[in-house]
């Protein structure tokens, strides 16, 4: 690591920031300069060439989607933890197996809870 006042390792990030901001600014400015200005009302609609809006998007929807998604995320993350363990399975040995069992056991208690409380029932 360098002990200089400007950390050289971070210069690429600065360059990246400048490029990112510059790209946005140049694109917007170029468009403003080049395009003809012809405003009319239809342009202000959310979907200029789609079907007209008919209701507010903030409506009530069944909360069970949320619960199912939550349960999915839990088991999704479980797999993330299981992959490294599976790769190093031989090295970790019996203790690794027991620890994974403990981990899955805790998750299963949660799953059992969700099941018993009716989180998986669709109606």
């Amino acid at each position: 690591m360098s002990n200089e006042a400007v950390p050289l390792n971070y210069v690429p990030i600065l360059v990246f920031l400048v490029v990112a901001v510059g790209f946005g600014l140049v694109t917007l400015l170029a468009g403003r300069v080049l395009r003809p200005s012809r405003p009319y009302k239809a342009k202000l609609k959310a979907y200029e060439s789609g079907s007209p809006l008919f209701s507010d998007a903030r409506l009530q929807f069944p909360i069970r989607y949320y619960i199912i998604a939550m349960l999915f995320v839990i088991f999704d993350v479980e797999i993330v933890f299981m992959f490294p363990w599976a790769v190093e399975f031989r090295k970790l040995g019996l203790l690794g197996l027991l620890e994974m069992g403990f981990f899955i056991g805790i998750l299963l208690v949660g799953f059992w809870y969700a099941w018993k409380k009716g989180a998986l029932e669709w109606d």
């Binding site: 690591m1 970790l92 208690v109 809870y113 018993k116």
Partner: protein, 498 residues
């Protein structure tokens, strides 16, 4: 960085209290949903039984001096960690006993309440053992998740929902600050373990990083200027949760603060002393002055809690081993007095469904026992001899005198006088005013246990503090190389104004 993950049975022994609690909270949760007919009180006693086992385990660790580190030094078991774990588990036991009556009022999820309390306790136990910045972040979040739910537990109550939302939004903000601070410190030093970080040069990134981490922990303990969530959250949350929130997380956060300031930042003491003195003066003064205007007993205790945190910060500002001892001892006295006071609030609230101070009028006529217990707890919080609070304040001021923090002590003494006023207003209402409804009040057995435990602790620590002092002195032995007034650390010119 490479880790060699070698775990043996002896290493896992260090995790035994946490593993016991993990298994036990799964058992409590399973009992709740698998046996729906089981009275929910039983779950409370089941939780207490499990916690008692964990407590016995921790006492064994403490007596046998079992210690070590795990997971590439992320997790440490030493006397300090064990002290804080005993503190947290003890608080949890008393809080659960104090909850039994209150939980009957919940309309939903009575069983899960105990599970969530145990889960928060588990998170805080890990906090007490957190030895690097990553585990600080993870354990702090872990312990707070349970509280987010618990604070908003009264689903039909607007105040409880508001409390939960405020706590959640500000808590998430503090977590963001913490993560940002950790990333800066890691970027500057390339290290995460507290004892490795002790960096010889104070670069701006390191200073900002540690300031951000301090802000996040300051949020957790509710020190001014990070206190804004405290009054509304304490007021709206179910009262047992308020009691829990006002004690256990403070202990866990002080475990981290002590490790951070005394281990990582020991060389920069001249700079952070001023920061802590400022936070301490602001917390004491703000908490005590605003408490005078309160009409609700929970809000009064919330502001008094902010002031008490200011008092504890004096010990941190002293930055010596004795300062550390004083923090630990003060936390013990605060545990018994504050939990006791909240137990009375819970008991009275259960009976008359009100937390207004006006409704404490003539409590002495309605229940002399409750009024007397409240008197003892409030006087201990104010620091009147021969109660525990007096010794706690004395200890912390002595640590500050050794370091020559005379301004801080002067402000602290003035604040004791201010706090005496609002504590005594409550006492006056209980003893002199006439009750509007003179019907006698009786309290349930579990509540009595909590009040007696609070009384016993408050009187014992006040009259015969030596065993507890020996205990806290032993818990901080690792800091005995922290120099006193003539600090051996080189004087550093730091790029922060303070």
């Amino acid at each position: 960085m490479t880790f060699t993950l070698t775990l043996s049975g002896a290493d896992l022994l260090l995790l035994l209290p946490e593993m016991l609690l993990t298994v036990w909270l799964c058992v409590v949760l399973t009992m709740d949903f698998a046996m729906p007919r089981l009275p929910k009180d039983r779950l409370a006693y089941l939780s207490v039984a499990g916690l008692a086992g964990v407590l016995a385990n921790l006492v064994w660790f403490d007596l046998a001096g079992i210690g070590g580190t795990l997971f590439a030094h992320m997790f440490v078991v030493d006397r300090l960690a064990v002290f804080f774990k005993i503190f947290i588990v003890g608080t949890t036991i008393l809080v659960i006993l104090a909850s039994v009556d209150y939980v009957r009022r919940f309309r939903f999820f009575k069983g899960e309440y105990y599970f969530l309390v145990l889960m928060s306790a588990l998170g805080m136990m890990f906090m007490a053992s957190a030895n690097d910045l990553l585990s600080v972040f993870i354990t702090l979040e872990f312990s707070t998740f349970g509280f987010y739910v618990l604070v908003a537990y009264l689903r039909d109550d607007v105040a409880s929902n508001e409390a939960g939302l405020k706590f959640f939004i500000l808590g998430v903000f503090a977590a963001g600050l913490l993560a940002y601070g950790i990333s800066l410190v890691y970027g500057e030093t390339g290290k995460l373990v507290f004892s490795d970080i002790a960096s010889p040069s104070a670069t701006p990134g390191l200073v900002i990083g540690f300031l951000l981490i301090f802000a996040a922990l300051g949020f957790k303990i509710g020190a001014v200027p990070f206190h804004s969530w405290i009054p509304d959250t304490y007021h709206g949350a179910p009262t047992p949760v308020t009691a829990f929130l006002s004690i256990a997380p403070k202990g866990a956060a002080f475990a981290i603060l002590i490790r951070m300031f005394f281990v990582s930042l020991a060389a920069f003491k001249p700079a952070w002393v001023l920061l802590l003195v400022g936070a301490s003066i602001l917390s004491m003064t703000y908490g005590n002055i605003v408490a005078i205007a309160q009409r609700n007993i929970k809000r009064l205790l919330a502001y008094s809690g902010i002031a008490q945190i200011g008092n504890i910060l004096i010990g941190l500002a002293a930055g010596t081993k004795m300062g550390g001892d004083a923090i630990l001892f003060y936390l013990l006295t605060y545990l018994f007095a504050n939990l006791g006071a909240f137990a009375i609030v819970i008991a009275v609230g259960n009976l008359i469904r009100s937390d207004e101070i006006e409704d404490y009028n003539g409590l002495n006529r309605r229940s002399p026992f409750l009024a007397f217990a409240m008197l003892v707890f409030l006087l201990s919080l104010a620091g009147v001899p021969p109660l525990a609070g007096f010794i706690g304040k004395l200890y912390i001021f002595l640590a500050a005198i050794d370091e020559g923090l005379y301004t801080l002590i002067a402000v602290g003494l003035i604040n004791i006088v201010i706090s005496m006023y609002y504590y005594l207003v409550v006492v006056k209402k209980m003893y002199i005013n006439e009750p509007t409804d003179p019907s006698p009040l009786t309290i349930s057995p579990p509540m009595k246990v909590v009040v007696y435990a609070g009384l016993a602790g408050t009187l014992f620590l006040g009259i015969y503090p030596q065993p507890a002092i020996n205990w806290v002195v032993a818990a901080t032995l690792m800091f005995s190389n922290l120099a006193g007034p003539a600090a051996a650390a080189p004087t550093l010119v730091l790029p922060i104004g303070g």
